[in-house]
Symmetry: C2
Subunit: 385 residues, 2 copies
């Protein structure tokens, strides 16, 4: 992996960069659609290509349980399995072990848990996490960590951060043994919302040395000002020449703020999860396609969007699909929402390159958070063609 970050402009800590992964260039800041179980929900690999996605996230815990990493390895790896020509980042499984599984015990060596699917018992270690991610053929693996919840008392946050640091070292060692030099390993900063613990976490990770660094344990319920303070701390603590990944973030307005504070990579389930409930993302705010106001609206979801759904389908049709429960509705809104996130990233990169990011951020945030409901997308006559 190579990462080349361009100089920051004076008015923002935001930056553009290029992440080279196994021969693929990914322009940063970048958004990774989430393909938890080797599928970005409802979307095909050709939809993702069309959307402009260059990297997706997949989930070590889920794929370890089903279909199993050895199955995917025998089938040629996750890229071939999903027929995905872009890059893949896999999370370490830590988050899901703590949030989904029935936890049995956190031991010095790893975590004993029962599968949320069938109750079967498993023991995940930093070494096993590396082995699973290696078998999947991940381009970016994540160190096995404990995601500290919010709130978390200082002592407990320290214990978890220290264990995360120890596991990061073991992750690094096992990754090195397995690696052919093509894949990257990112360490994950923890420490809850305690600035000194987070700085200590970052320092320990940097001394181990990773190709990139993630900010973990955020977007888990903490107040926004606290989150941004922690992100700024991470920006100060982490080396400029490495990419920073803010895990699980977030709403478009959150991404704007995080870029402003030096983050390069993002993932979030919102564009696809929201789509299943009829939430449409645009760069002028989100709305529910289920609302009565759209029932006879011949205009597209977003007149500024270049996706195929906006080119071909009316709000009225999409609302109808949701009203009657047709599975095409969530699919088409997912398609649009993912493209919207990727268009946001394109606009962010252009604004950064052109030295106008701070103005862009403020204007876009105001548009996103405007309290006005979005106007009907088009005059009330049917569109041509």
């Amino acid at each position: 992996m190579q990462f080349r970050a361009r100089e920051r402009s004076p008015s923002t800590r935001g930056r553009t960069g290029t992440l080279r992964l196994a021969g693929r260039d990914i322009e940063t800041p970048a958004f990774m659609p989430v393909g938890t179980r080797a599928s970005v929900k409802t979307l095909s690999s050709w939809d993702l290509e069309e959307s402009g996605a260059r990297i997706v996230l997949a989930n070590t815990y889920h794929l370890y349980l089903r279909p199993g990493q050895e199955t995917i390895r025998r089938l040629g790896g996750l890229h071939r399995f999903m027929d995905w020509s872009g890059a893949i980042l896999t999370d370490s499984g830590g988050y899901q072990v703590f949030s989904l599984a029935e936890l049995r015990a956190v031991l010095p060596d790893g975590v004993r848990f029962r599968s949320h699917l069938d109750g079967s018992e498993h023991f995940f270690t930093p070494e096993l996490s590396m082995e699973v991610q290696h078998a999947l053929g991940s381009d970016v693996a994540m160190a096995f960590d404990i995601c500290t919840p919010y709130p978390c008392a200082r002592d407990e946050a320290r214990r978890q951060m220290e264990r995360t640091s120890a596991w990061a070292e073991r992750s690094r060692a096992r990754f090195r043994e397995l690696s052919d030099g093509r894949a990257a390993l990112f360490g994950i900063v923890q420490g809850g919302v305690h600035p000194d613990l987070r700085s200590e976490s970052a320092a320990r990770l940097v001394s181990i040395g990773f190709e990139g660094y993630a900010l973990g344990g955020l977007a888990v319920g903490e107040p926004a000002p606290v989150r941004w303070e922690m992100v700024e701390r991470g920006d100060a603590d982490l080396p400029e020449e490495r990419p920073r990944y803010l895990m699980g973030v977030g709403q478009p307005e959150d991404i704007l703020e995080a870029v402003h504070r030096g983050c390069d990579l993002f993932d979030c389930v919102l564009p696809t999860r929201g789509a299943r409930h009829g939430t449409v993302y645009t760069l002028a705010g989100r709305f529910s396609i289920k609302a009565r106001i759209h029932a006879e609206d011949p205009g597209p979801l977003d007149p500024d969007c270049d996706c195929r759904v906006c080119g071909r389908c009316s709000r009225a049709y999409l609302r109808h699909l949701f009203q009657v429960g047709e599975p095409l509705g969530p699919r088409l809104v997912s398609h649009h929402n993912v493209r919207t996130y990727l268009r946001l990233m394109e606009k962010i990169r252009a604004a950064l390159r052109e030295g106008r990011y701070d103005a862009f951020r403020r204007r876009t945030r105001d548009a996103l958070l405007g309290t006005e409901p979005p106007a009907p997308a088009a005059p009330e006559t049917p569109k041509e063609g």
Copy 2:
């Protein structure tokens, strides 16, 4: 509407033809994917275009209830609503009124029923059915009929056939008043499985005069030999120069037999309904993608298929999607299944044109019904690329 049927070959009653509907040429025999509620389940209009579909079926009863035909009319009609560039046939709503709604009363003028959705009361007449189909902008409307169930005593079947004949006449009259000459109206032969009643039904419809004729009340549970006898009866009773549509049929092997007996048009929910349950159609038989045997199969669903799913996705991946319940699974199998049905029709037309239909029918039927489970699609090494 124009229809030009080519001469039959001596060994079969099967025939090719061209149906011209509102400037679109549809080669027959043709299969119509079913888009009940203005959506062929899980598939976009661009998927359907890619599959080679030229005509789809939509449902008057469902669209009358939601979103309402006036909404669709105001939005420019069903073609624009669905963004579908091909032709559309709408059924009359009769079948759903009798099968889905809570029936209140069959009166001489029409049918009083309660919506299966909210219990609201409605009165459907032949005239209203024509008005709804006209508002939808259907290319082929169907006369409002009573679909006789199986079994049905002769007296009752006669009463229903006579009412269907009277309603056909009223459908024709109202259609004529509404028509600008672009759309076609088909009459529906009923009479249960009583040959003389069916012949009488056909004669009455022919004396009214329709652009095409449908064989109704079949594929509702009757034994196959009885069904084929009724289809042959229809072939003998109906004018050569009009298209014949066998409603609701069916499995690929049924379509082969129906074409052999002179049918030109088909519709069936099986390719999409089956896909939701993991049933994969191929021209060498159907199988469940959920079966364990596919778990590590790197080959496509059907090595003979030219669809995008077969070009890009392995059986192993598709099985995984079903195992974990990802909505992409039903979507991709629907895509493949619809293409399989349309490929079957392409092969049927080629065999008819080349005077080898009877041999094709026998060979394909044997392949479809072979008791051998389909072999793994490819050798057990990962495919290239």
